[in-house]
């Protein structure tokens, strides 16, 4: 019997993808809005490796989605499981379906659909085509063939899979409230933990910070600082792509915080997104350029 507690789902996904030849990484140690931001996806989608396979869990922060722990489906901090396979294998769909089986969701016992969903990240200057995968009407994953990242064409084309772990676990465990998810498979009487035991207080406190207390002047300054530092690192004679990209991720997160605080108007919003995209593009270009410099030098 396959274990379906939250941590077992993660462990099973990791071991499944490890068996498929993926490098199992750990989460990137910065606040990001989605697993795609991890340099193992964003930058490695472009180079230098001709073959790159990786899988990792990434805590994702969406400040505006916080609901003070009241909403059974929405969180400002949640987990994505991210897989990137470059080049996309011919049997991509079969590999993916195999992963569902590995976590106790036998595709043959359900109604699985691939429903058109073109993916785009305006802040990363990235897009791809693919689907959201439905299991009995529930979206359980994003399935994307990357075409561009940082405005640069991907060659070869990577396959990106993103599992929204809470939602997937709720489906597998048959739970209607995210805070009721079994985390460890240990009974409460024996000190076992459910999702709410671990994250409820964080959701309440961070919602308060995101929506009410975050110092917007400070966030604005942080945004400008990150933007300036990113630009400076990219402008060096030998651009430092990775540290610059860290600053780009920071800028993106500060923008999300400012957005949650409601201090960015609709018209300004597009301008901010454009500024982050410019940083991302610069980092991606530097990443490829640095790669050339190394391989030729």
């Amino acid at each position: 019997m396959i274990r379906t507690d939250f941590q077992s789902i993660i462990l099973n996904l990791q071991s499944y993808w490890a068996q498929q030849g993926a490098v199992i990484l750990q989460p990137y140690d910065m606040e990001v809005g989605a697993g795609t931001f991890h340099p193992a996806t964003t930058l490695r989608a472009l180079g230098p490796d001709d073959v790159w396979r990786a899988a990792y869990v990434q805590p994702s922060r969406r400040p505006a989605d916080g609901r003070y722990g009241d909403n059974p489906n929405r969180l400002q901090h949640y987990y994505q499981f991210q897989v990137i396979f470059k080049p996309s294998p011919a049997e991509s769909q079969a590999l993916y379906l195999g992963s569902l089986k590995a976590i106790g969701l036998d595709p043959d016992a359900h109604d699985i659909r691939f429903v058109e969903d073109d993916w785009e990240s305006p802040t990363l200057g990235a897009w791809g085509l693919g689907w959201e995968v439905w299991c009995d009407g529930m979206e359980v994953s994003q399935f994307t063939y990357f075409q561009q990242v940082g405005g640069i064409e991907c060659h070869p084309v990577p396959l990106e899979l993103t599992y929204g772990l809470e939602r997937l676990a709720m489906f597998i465990q048959g739970v209607d409230n995210v805070y009721d998810l079994d985390w460890d498979g240990v009974p409460a009487s024996d000190g076992g933990k459910i999702y709410g035991d671990i994250f409820k207080r964080a959701e309440i406190e961070f919602s308060g910070w995101n929506f009410e207390h975050a110092d917007t002047d400070m966030l604005l300054q942080h945004f400008r600082d990150a933007e300036a530092e990113c630009g400076r690192l990219l402008g060096l004679d030998k651009a430092l792509a990775l540290p610059a990209y860290d600053q780009c991720m920071k800028a993106s997160h500060f923008f999300n915080m400012l957005d949650a605080r409601g201090v960015i108007s609709v018209t300004e919003r597009a301008a901010y997104i454009g500024r982050v995209r410019a940083l991302a593009r610069g980092c991606c270009e530097a990443w490829i350029g640095a790669d050339k410099a190394v391989s030729h030098g």
Partner: protein, 689 residues
């Protein structure tokens, strides 16, 4: 003759693209085969598309191209030997094979070579390759290491001609070209084994082989299966399927399944208090389930899920339970907003509209609310039964729901939700209905608002938008109309015509401009609306020349009058008086044109009654007695109809070019008078034969 089957197997094609893909594929193959000369008079072709299969099946294809004779003209027979020798070499024929023939330009050498037609099998590889390379997918992608773009990764290219696999391959820009095959595949889970296409000898046989592997490849077959399945289940619970409504989204359902099975679900009681429009949006639009209506026509708590699996009781339960849970979560979200939003009165949301930009340069939505309040009230006097204060209030509240949680989640319910909230706040029914309907009509198929207050607010919203965007120079150009201004203008036209409203449009455009603080309304707004009226009337099958004759007066802003006059004139020109009058008009205007050309000046419509004979007297007094526009267009046309006989008598009994120059001039003046009086009614110069 033989059959041709081309089948492409790949990853899921978006539902919305499947119809286009099947049609394009069939058209492209037919055009290519026709171009090669192998499309016979008996040939047929069908395009078929499902999520993972895209195919054409053609019959009556020639197995080889017909032989052809290629004719080349060479030099003249008396040309230098070197030129003739050069020609002989270029043809590849022996000198004796040339013939000499006379042409209008002299006697020339001709070379005729017979070219045997190629076998069709030798041509098909290129046909397939060309079509694949140029397929017009709305969006396409690369995958793996390849450079070829397709809608989603393509896995197999099957080509079967005359029941036999065709050898060949297609270059994906990858390391290995993809070899053509004749092996299709069945439903991913129901029939994972390969299916041979060898020996397929009819469209039905092709469909049967796939169906035996649980793939219904023909879209119309899938639709039928879905509708039949849904109807049968609906009947079990005493409900019906609204097929008209289902027609608007069945493409989305049929494009997601290969093996449809209908399953019955039920909405929990607690959610049935939510507005039916909201239930419809959640269940049909977002989840792609089929909604039902009960015997009274009310929204039924039952709904139907179309699964992509063969029926299996245990699995069906699992599938339904999963779908019910998704729906419950979505409806719980909606219910949360429904209850949360109603804690605040709709009018208290209006100040929050300040934070939402209408459009850069056109202020925020709170300002729009205030403008709509004013303009709706200004429109009220022109709409029967419309209370000015009601219209103002409805205009003020119309946009308030845009900042509610519900519309944030379900943008397509804007207006409708505001209507519910207004009713909940105790606003009068007329106001709630107006808020709900003020975005209408949203497209050619959408109804116009019917209540007086709704008409006022709907008109105000569209006029405000038109005047605003024109005011900052954001006008539609060519096919680009990002702010849907054509739709707004058409909405104004349809509301006015449907409601038989006489609205002084120019005055209201001026008022709208004043609300924005513009110095004046942009000059192009009225012509733009009049131009849309022209298009609208032509779409109603009105003759373009009649529309042009009525809309000749560039300042006209009474849309209803212009539309009515177009209809009247069209009717008039269909009866004998009208046709006869047009004949008379042509004689008058062509004679005047000829005489004026000679005289090099126009004739004034002045006459001396002393010079008239009886016929002229009668015509003249009829002309002076013509009713003016106050009498109405129909009366004017009727009176013109009466002129017909008098004009005929004039031309039959009188020679205009009399020997007496004074009499001649007087008669030309009378003709000029006919022209002048008729032009006052409509621009008859625009009417074509």
């Amino acid at each position: 003759m033989a059959d041709l089957l081309v089948e492409l197997v790949g990853e899921e094609i978006p539902a919305r693209m499947q119809t286009m893909a099947a049609q394009h594929f069939a058209n492209a193959v037919q055009a290519a085969l026709d171009g090669l000369g192998v499309w016979t008079g008996e040939a047929t072709i069908n395009g078929l598309c499902g999520p993972r299969h895209l195919a054409i099946y053609a019959t009556g294809i020639a197995v080889a191209q017909p032989d052809r004779v290629i004719e080349k003209r060479g030099p003249r027979v008396d040309a230098p030997d070197a030129a003739i020798a050069g020609f002989v070499t270029s043809t590849g024929l022996p000198r004796e094979a040339l013939t000499e023939e006379d042409t209008p330009k002299g006697r020339f050498f001709f070379a005729r070579s017979h070219v045997a037609g190629a076998d069709t099998t030798a041509l098909l590889g290129d046909v397939v390759a060309d079509i694949l390379t140029q397929f017009p997918w709305p969006k396409s992608q690369r995958w793996g290491r390849g450079s070829f773009r397709w809608v989603r990764p393509l896995h197999r290219i099957n080509v079967v001609f005359d029941g036999q696999p065709l050898a060949g391959s297609f270059d994906l820009g990858d390391t290995q070209p993809m070899a053509f095959g004749a092996t299709s595949c069945g439903h991913y889970f129901e029939a994972p084994d390969d299916i041979s296409l060898v020996g397929v000898d009819s469209l039905d046989e092709f469909k049967r082989r796939l169906a035996s592997a649980h793939v219904i490849i023909d879209q119309s077959d899938r639709r039928t299966a879905i509708i039949d399945g849904a109807k049968a289940l609906a009947k079990d619970v005493g409900c019906t399927v609204d097929e008209t409504q289902l027609g608007t989204y069945i493409q989305d359902i049929a494009g997601l399944v290969e093996s449809p099975t209908a399953l019955l679900g039920q909405i929990e009681d607690r959610f049935m208090q939510l507005p039916p429009e909201l239930l419809q949006a959640t269940i049909a639009t977002h989840q792609k389930y089929i909604t039902l209506q009960d015997q009274s026509g009310a929204f039924s708590p039952y709904f139907i899920v179309i699964s992509n699996r063969q029926s299996d009781p245990a699995r069906d339960q699992v599938i339904m339970a999963g779908n019910q849970r998704v729906l419950r979560a979505r409806l719980a979200d909606a219910e949360f907003f429904w209850q949360q939003d109603k804690k605040t009165r709709l009018d208290a949301y209006v100040p929050q509209l300040k934070a939402v930009t209408f459009y850069e340069g056109l202020g925020d939505l709170q300002a729009k609310a205030v403008r709509l309040e004013k303009l709706s009230s200004a429109l009220a006097p022109y709409i029967d039964g419309c209370d000015g204060a009601d219209a103002a209030r409805a205009g003020y509240l119309a946009k308030a729901d845009l900042v509610t949680g519900m519309v944030g989640e379900f943008p397509e319910l804007q207006g409708i939700i505001g209507g519910y909230y207004a009713r909940h706040d105790g606003e009068p029914d007329s106001i709630a209905t107006a808020i709900a309907a003020h975005y209408r009509p949203q497209g050619p198929a959408d109804d116009v608002p019917h209540t007086p207050t709704a008409k006022a607010v709907a008109l105000a919203d569209k006029i405000d938008t038109l005047v605003g965007f024109f005011g900052i120079g954001a006008k539609p150009t060519g096919s680009k109309d990002p702010f849907a201004l054509r739709r707004a203008a058409l909405g104004v036209i349809r509301i006015i015509l449907d409601g038989k409203l006489s609205v002084p449009l120019q005055k209201l455009l001026d008022k709208a401009a004043e609300n924005y603080g513009f110095a004046a309304v942009d000059d192009d707004v009225l012509p733009f609306i009049r131009d849309r009226l022209r298009v609208y009337l032509r779409d109603q099958n009105m003759r373009h020349d009649i529309v042009a004759a009525v809309l000749a007066d560039a300042g006209g802003d009474d849309l209803r009058r212009m539309a009515d006059e177009t209809r009247s004139l069209a009717g008039f020109l269909e009866n004998g008086d009208g046709l006869g009058l047009i004949a008379g008009w042509r004689r008058v205007s062509s004679m005047l044109a000829a005489e004026e050309k000679k005289a090099k000046h126009a004739f004034a419509a002045t006459t001396d009654p002393a010079l008239f004979n009886d016929i002229e007297h009668a015509l003249h007094s009829a002309l002076t007695g013509l009713p003016d526009s106050d009498a109405g267009f129909a009366a004017q046309l009727a009176a013109l109809g009466d002129l017909r006989a008098l004009i005929n008598r004039f031309f039959d009994g009188i020679v205009v070019n009399d020997d007496d120059p004074a009499v001649r001039l007087n008669r030309l003046g009378l003709l000029a008078m006919i022209r002048e009086k008729m032009q006052l009614v409509a621009d008859f110069t625009k009417i074509e034969g």
